[in-house]
């Protein structure tokens, strides 16, 4: 993958170089940037969890786009006041101010107009960004020599970062990580049940504000390295990826932090080795890869796992159909009967052999010469399934007002989910009713 990403006039780094960068031995500057971006990734992951759970993921997008006019205004203001326009703290302060203003505008639009959240976010995002573009062109017209650096806030640039910049970024990131962990319990409460938190006396709106402030911190910290268009990815990708692996908040936060940190670390390392690569894009693609892997391969919520689960369930249902059919056919199914069953159920050949195999390895059937014979265990299972079937039919006819012609159709699905306990209860009830009717 690296090879295809490398530009023609850029040679691939040697292994020694790779190791040097990854182990923080490639010079003070590179190492500081690497550490700073890693911290940024962790902060994005941790803070992003709450933004995700609170369904504010795209609010952060409006926020990050709204930072551009702030950066340009701060630059112009600093120049008029006689400071250097490249002073990062001043620029980031400006970014934070207009970023917050953008969020306030979204809230205001939602409150006073009938526009929906999507439109409000899109409006703020584009209008603020447009204002930023206008201001940037004013900055450029002003002919200030160091104005070009402002463009890096759009796409991000780690190569030009100084140690002090990286330290500032890392510091902000670290502060927001600490704050997030300090308020973990409170945030969790607000995320999962805001109404309850409110009733329970927690200052929900203040906590929401603090949460938003953390998002602002991460966005602002990430501006220089990742750029304002992609910084939102730091907040969204790691938490969404981590969400595939766990159901617990604490684990989710830690995991999102780790995945974010990992993406930041790898992304910054790659762009340190190949300085032409825009760091922001590399970081985002790294976490994109982490996301894709998580989505596919996570054990419980992953796509592959749930597809396998669904398939296993299909096999189980089909196996039970097979056992039931054999049970009703005096314990054996000849080749012709098997063919008929497969045709009726719509089982393709490969599926049919999988069913047979699964029944055989469980010791439920013995198959020979294309015939199926139930073993003792298989006969018991077949009898149980058939009995469930009958019970359900009876139940649905009597109690659930289901038209008798529909019963068989629905029964095929429910008999598999019926618990033994429920069956016993149902049987008793039916027996009692049958006695009552006989009397």
């Amino acid at each position: 993958m690296l090879a295809s990403l490398a530009a023609p006039d850029e040679s691939l780094p040697t292994l020694a170089e790779v190791v040097r960068v990854l182990t923080f031995r490639a010079g003070y500057n590179t190492s500081t940037v690497l550490l700073g971006v890693t911290l940024l990734g962790v902060a994005g992951g941790v803070v992003g969890v709450f933004a995700l759970l609170r369904k504010r993921a795209l609010m952060a997008d409006a926020l990050s786009h709204a930072t551009l006019p702030g950066v340009a205004l701060a630059f112009l203001a600093a120049l008029t006041l006689g400071f250097s326009g490249r002073s990062l703290p001043i620029l980031l302060l400006g970014a934070a101010v207009t970023g917050v203003l953008g969020v306030v505008c979204v809230q205001l639009l939602l409150r006073v107009s009938r526009l929906r959240e999507d439109a409000a976010i899109g409006i703020v995002l584009s209008v603020f960004f447009g204002a930023g573009i206008v201001l940037l062109s004013i900055v450029q017209n002003s002919g200030s020599a160091n104005a070009a650096g402002l463009n890096h806030f759009i796409y991000g640039q780690t190569a030009a970062m100084r140690v002090s910049d990286a330290a500032l970024m890392g510091g902000i990131a670290l502060a927001s990580i600490l704050l997030a962990f300090l308020l973990l319990k409170e945030f969790g409460l607000v995320c999962f049940n805001a109404a309850f938190a409110d009733v329970d006396g927690w200052p929900v709106s203040t906590l929401d504000l603090v949460m938003m402030a953390l998002v602002v911190l991460v966005v602002v910290a990430g501006l220089q390295a990742v750029g304002l268009i992609l910084v939102i990815a730091l907040l969204i990708l790691p938490p969404v990826a981590a969400r595939f692996w766990t159901q617990r908040l604490w684990t989710l936060v830690v995991l999102a932090g780790v995945l974010g940190g990992l993406s930041g670390y790898l992304g910054a390392a790659i762009s340190a080795l190949m300085p032409r690569k825009p760091a922001g894009a590399v970081i985002v693609l790294t976490s994109g890869a982490v996301f894709a892997l998580s989505m596919l391969f996570a054990p419980s919520r992953g796509v592959l796992a749930s597809a396998l689960r669904r398939f296993a369930l299909r096999i189980r249902f089909a196996r039970e159909h097979l056992l039931e059919a054999a049970h009703e056919n005096a314990g054996t199914l000849g080749r012709a009967a098997l063919d008929a069953l497969a045709r009726r159920r719509g089982w393709p050949g490969w599926f049919r052999s999988m069913i047979l195999t699964s029944a055989r390895v469980r010791g439920l059937v013995a198959a020979a010469n294309g015939e199926v014979r139930l073993t003792d265990a298989g006969a018991a299972a077949g009898a149980r399934i058939a009995r469930n079937h009958r019970l359900w039919e009876e139940y649905l006819i009597r109690y659930a007002d289901v038209a008798p012609s529909h019963v068989d159709w629905s029964v095929d699905q429910v008999e598999h989910v019926l618990s033994e306990h429920l069956v016993a209860e149902l049987e008793d009830a039916l027996r009692a009713r049958a006695k009552g009717a006989a009397r």
């Binding site: 795209l58 107009s113 409006i123 573009i133 690569k277 796509v303």
Partner: protein
């Protein structure tokens, strides 16, 4: 420097901006209605890799290849968002964020790679376009000379593409107006009516992607996003019907394009500065129009709502004053509590109340109106006790609010729950 319209410098940029604004605005109507505004945002970010890949593969800026690449990327965005949402059970907003940020990052990475090959595609112009480069070198100087085929021949590719795109968009919307409308307001109904809302959805997304590509080269993706959302949102605040919404939206797009384009030159010129980025200032103009609509829309604006509230407050104050005076006459006791002097002034001004010394008294028309208010109040009290099962000592506060509604319960008993007579309707 004299800010004026020059055909050579301004005609094609203005035309490109106008066309882009119109086509994006047109499609934006349906995005905003279907709460898919951010899908427009996502698509316009995500077409970038499609463009760049098409560019790298063909090594040319051929429109066809670019269009194809971007359209594929646009559709891929929609499909991927759907997949992430459905398969990964990810919340819609986050799913969109995941897909477009990753695709955009891919585009940014690839664009750097393309830039190394010394070709003129750069990440900055993707964002804010190159309106300023659409110069017509041997342009005629008189407007009258524009009315010839040469104008069309001289038009740069961006303008002709946008023109074609606008035409296609108008045809699409006109042909499928009914379907788009049903799909926008009630997708389930659309499906029961025999056409697939999903197909409409993808067709719309395809058009959004195509419009994005057609526009981005001239005006940049940021203006595309602004134009997809702002004019449509503006129109949404001004009207409740779809056809007027589409027309108002077109007007808002046009206005924003003109105001923004000329504003970008003329306003800085007034301060003796160079012109600013036109795409950015058109975005600002669109935002300004929207802000205006939010404030001043006759039906949904902040000002209109405030005026409605003030009117309601005044009428409630007047009702309360009249009712208090009526009860005073009824019982013979002074029971005027804290009343707004302004309400008394208004009542006197309307001839409903007359002042004698420091006392207020109802005039005949005032008494008739007051009787109606008290009648509504007591009818509501009776209703609340009889029908809603409230106890008589709990109904006064509720009735105090209900009496200001235009409606009242049908004729009730002669006495209210407190034993007071319910005035009959005034003899007409």
């Amino acid at each position: 420097m004299t800010p004026a319209f020059s055909i050579a410098l301004d005609l094609f940029p203005l035309l490109a901006a106008l066309l882009a604004a119109l086509v994006c605005g047109l499609l934006g109507n349906f995005l905003v209605l279907r709460r898919l505004s951010l899908m427009g945002d996502a698509i316009s970010h995500a077409v970038l890799p499609g463009l760049v890949i098409a560019f790298i593969l063909t090594s040319s800026r051929s429109s066809t290849a670019m269009f194809l690449g971007a359209a594929i990327a646009g559709l891929a965005t929609v499909v991927l968002v759907e997949l992430v949402k459905r398969l990964g059970k990810v919340e819609p907003g986050a799913a969109m964020g995941v897909v477009f940020s990753v695709l955009f990052a891919l585009g940014v990475l690839l664009i750097e790679r393309a830039a190394v090959r010394h070709v003129d595609l750069d990440a900055e112009c993707v964002l804010h376009g190159q309106l300023e480069t659409l110069v017509w070198f041997d342009a005629p100087t008189r407007f009258a000379d524009l009315l010839s085929l040469d104008t069309l021949r001289a038009a740069p590719r961006q303008v002709t593409t946008l023109l074609a795109m606008l035409g296609a968009g108008v045809v699409f919307v006109a042909l499928f107006f009914k379907e788009l409308r049903i799909a926008a307001f009630d997708p389930a109904l659309a499906t029961t009516q025999g056409f697939h809302a999903g197909v409409m959805h993808y067709a719309l997304m395809l058009f959004v992607a195509a419009a994005t590509v057609a526009s981005f080269e001239a005006v940049g993706s940021i203006l595309v996003i602004a134009m997809l959302i702002c004019p449509a949102a503006t129109a949404r605040l001004l009207t409740d019907r779809l056809l007027p919404q589409v027309l108002v939206c077109a007007a808002a797009s046009t206005l924003a394009a003109f105001a923004g384009y000329f504003g970008s030159t003329w306003i800085p010129a007034a301060f003796g500065a160079d012109s600013v980025n036109a795409a950015g200032s058109i975005t600002l103009a669109a935002g300004g129009l929207l802000a205006l609509a939010v404030l001043a829309s006759p039906s949904h604006g902040v000002i209109a709502a405030a005026a409605r509230r003030a009117r309601l407050r005044r009428s409630i104050e007047l009702d309360d004053l009249l009712a208090a005076l009526f009860r005073e006459e009824e019982t013979g006791q002074r029971r005027m509590g804290a009343l707004r002097p302004a309400a008394a002034q208004r009542a006197i001004g309307r001839g409903l109340v007359a002042r004698t010394g420091d006392r207020l008294a109802l005039t005949d028309p005032g008494r008739a109106q007051a009787r109606e208010v008290v009648r509504r109040h007591r009818l509501w009290e009776a209703y609340l006790v009889e029908r809603a099962g409230l106890s008589p000592d709990h109904v006064h506060e509720t009735a105090e609010r209900l009496e200001h509604l235009g409606v009242r319960p049908a004729e009730g008993p002669a006495l209210d729950p407190h034993g007071r007579e319910i005035p009959r309707g005034s003899p007409e």
